[in-house]
Symmetry: C2
Subunit: 491 residues, 2 copies
């Protein structure tokens, strides 16, 4: 077929598809205007921008199924999108302009709250905050909290298996989910919205779709597990020598507190420096600067007094053992908030300091300290003066291992362009060390586009072969979020 004819043909097919999509979801929910599309075409960190034939906003599971079938019939790629807060470009279409972005945001109903079963059913487009509020209204708690909870969605949280600060006690997004409703690549609806804690009737389909980043089907709703709310949360901050001491403190706190230890966060001295420098009202928690800090959260089902007593016992034992230099325990809500803010304001403080390289890695908890020692040494030789802004979830072995540019003798950072030009070399160097320490190159952010090449470089072939076989089996035409997570099949 001559090129002009092929173009006309493709155009007619696209027009027919658009008409069919308007029939399914209503004309106002098929966005083709460039300005209206724009917010859906660039990722949150503004690293990726794509194009789309249309942004389609279905209002029900049946509409999602009909849209996916229409796309399957025309071999049109589908890029599912929730709150568009992902950090790896997993919800941004490619540059072809032939895919549709399937926005789940209109599907935001809480379908059910079952207090006696300690579950709720939320549609994929519910924000995490909306789902939290529904749990709260039943006197229970959804144990998933993220900085983006006001805009990220339940579907996105599950598709990326989001983490957060309470994974130590409650697990990742995966562990909060008892069942899913999914539209498969063929446009069928699998209703696996189980509220069951035990169900051994076949392959674990739920966990296959969780973390699949929309490459196997579209999550349209989820049954989420709720937990009893603790009566009090007690926050304490420890000043420490290094991450080796932090690891010993973690073991001690777990032995003494058991499940009451609901968060164990760490950040190094440079992190605190940046917060004190850039965040208004931030105050140094200790008279003396320490190389390393650990922030513990204890959740108490008895009382605040009981929780504080436990925190004091842990602090006393750790200081006695020479494991901690000092500790402060928040005695009220305001103090607790101020301590948490030191940790929570870290990303913003680092952003104000200038561009940085972000890594999201994990290693076994027992190897975190040795890994950071090795990475500091290797980076120091390769990239002299590079600054390690390391913070994260020691209890999960997960560090946000971020790197800021070296400063010159006048304290000015290396120019952005030359620093960022070394990005891939830095990623490779750190990831190689991660693998040496039996770790993961993406602990909680996922693969998307950002880490895809590194995944291919680092994942052992038997695992890739299994992943490809599953993708081929469940999405044979490679239409579900193609190019994300695993590469397109060789054509």
């Amino acid at each position: 077929m001559p090129a002009a004819e092929a173009d006309a043909d493709a155009r007619a097919t696209a027009d027919a598809l658009l008409a069919r999509l308007r029939d399914i979801v209503g004309a106002s929910h098929v966005i083709t205007d460039a300005a209206d599309q724009a917010p859906f075409l660039t990722d949150w960190r503004r690293r990726y921008t794509g194009r789309a034939l249309a942004v389609v906003r279905p209002g029900s599971t049946q509409e999602v199924a009909a849209v996916v079938r229409a796309c399957a019939d025309t071999r049109t790629a589908v890029v599912p999108q929730g709150g568009n807060t992902g950090l790896v470009g997993g919800a941004t279409p490619d540059a072809s302009g032939r895919a549709i972005v399937l926005s789940l945001r209109r599907m935001n109903a809480i379908r059910e709250v079952d207090a006696a079963n300690a579950t709720l059913v939320a549609e994929a487009g519910c924000t995490l905050a909306e789902a939290q509020a529904a749990a709260e209204s039943a006197g229970l708690m959804l144990a998933l909290t993220l900085a983006s909870q006001g805009s990220c969605t339940v579907g996105g949280n599950l598709s990326t298996n989001a983490g957060g600060v309470q994974v130590l006690r409650y697990g990742n997004a995966r562990e909060q989910c008892l069942g899913l409703e999914v539209v498969t690549a063929s446009g069928d609806v699998w209703n696996g919205l189980s509220g069951l804690r035990k169900d051994n009737t076949g392959y674990d389909l739920r966990d296959l779709f969780i973390g699949a980043e929309g490459t196997l089907g579209v999550i349209t709703a989820a049954c989420l597990r709720l937990h009893p709310k603790p009566r009090a949360r007690v926050i304490c901050l420890f000043a420490l020598d290094d991450l080796h001491a932090a690891t010993r403190l973690l073991m001690r706190a777990q032995a003494m507190a058991g499940p009451a230890l609901t968060a164990f966060e760490v950040f190094n001295a440079l992190c605190l420096d940046l917060v004190l420098k850039h965040v208004d009202g931030a105050r140094a928690p200790f008279a003396e600067r320490a190389p390393q800090y650990a922030l513990l959260e204890l959740s108490d089902h008895e009382s605040e007094v009981h929780g504080i007593a436990l925190a004091e016992a842990i602090a006393a034992a750790a200081i006695d053992a020479g494991e901690a230099r000092d500790a402060v325990i928040a005695q009220n809500g305001a103090q607790a908030k101020a301590l948490w803010a030191l940790r929570e304001n870290l990303s913003e403080a680092q952003a104000r300091e200038g561009k940085n390289l972000k890594l999201d890695i994990s290693v076994p908890v027992s190897r975190v300290a040795a890994f950071v020692d090795a990475a500091r040494e290797a980076l120091g030789s390769e990239q002299p003066g590079i600054r390690l802004v390391t913070f994260g979830h020691l209890g999960d072995g997960n560090l946000h291992f971020n790197l800021s540019p070296p400063l010159d003798t006048d304290g000015r950072p290396e120019p952005e362009a030359s620093f960022l030009a070394r990005q891939n070399a830095v990623y490779r160097l750190v990831h190689d060390l991660v693998l040496e320490h039996a770790g993961s190159i993406s602990a909680e952010h996922g693969i998307g586009q950002l880490r895809r090449d590194e995944l291919l470089r680092t994942k052992p072939e038997p695992a890739l072969a299994l992943m490809r076989a599953i993708k081929q089996a469940l999405d044979p035409d490679d239409l579900m979020n193609p190019g994300k997570l695993i590469p397109r099949r060789p054509s």
Copy 2:
């Protein structure tokens, strides 16, 4: 080919395979003698007996891989087997005599215990008790306990996603596993022995093999998550009106105790009657018989005194609210053991009463009481006098809904043959009610052979289609434990 010639050909192929298997694992580990094979060919409940070309006992992952490749080359079915304690015939070969039984029992090393990471790596053939002991020796706890723990194996526990009494707090076998080593159907080794709590680098292969009953590959080792050991376990028993009251008590206990509530078991009056009748030394825990009992376990990280005080507070509140008739709290280890024994001796007591029909179902916790009411009524009309011996894990919505034959006016049970003849009708009746209550026909025992037809009858087609696609993708020649879980492909 004439039949005699085909037989000779098959015989030659089988002999060649046996020779190759002997080369791989050593002649003494290829069992062909009928008497020596017998223990591997009949399931624990003695409901299924099969035949095998050989029972093969590899000693390493590489040997397992070589055995699977040899079987793949000759289109020979592989039936993986651990401790052979399964309850659904999942590890028993068919009657053809052409499959091999792959016993993992020789692979029983604890490869690593990492206390700071709170993990251990156990080979598939370790008994659960051996893995528990390894955790214990590191001052930690493996939170999976089963009646069969002295003989069931880690590989079997994971392949069937075993449950037990602490699922309420710690989850199923699935939740105890951070990573797997698996020999795939093609005989490749996937080393996914991650000790990571966060790893978002692709599809969740781990959870696909867990609960797959050996139909997708052979689990050869697992990295298991450990927990801090509580200082004390406090046991209390409640006398209640019915399961509705038990559900309210569960909500109250969860709100008051949070994660300290580590078990919530129920059994009805008939259960206790059978234990008192058949078990030497069993004593009635209350002066008056109650229709329903609930046994709670509180795990305390502070002290026994603290745990008893919490149990007393729960008991006082429940009795005050008219939710419980009475409660006893064990004040020492002997009392605790005596209370647990009432629950643990139930299966044996029921067995002594005679043959019974066993169901292993779950429904949402909020619907357990209504389900049992409905089932009692429906069974009462269909099978007058049938006795409901219901006990189980209310906290997980999981009941062992067992049925004993009616008694005649002289107290003699209906003859076994006529009672068992109604088995399939009873299963169907109960399972239909389970589905009406959004439940599962196999909560923790799995599908195997026993529930396969009921799975096909009750599982929605989109789920079956996904399962078939996965099986086809990962085991295209249907050689991994064929005929279990999902049926053979139509030929």
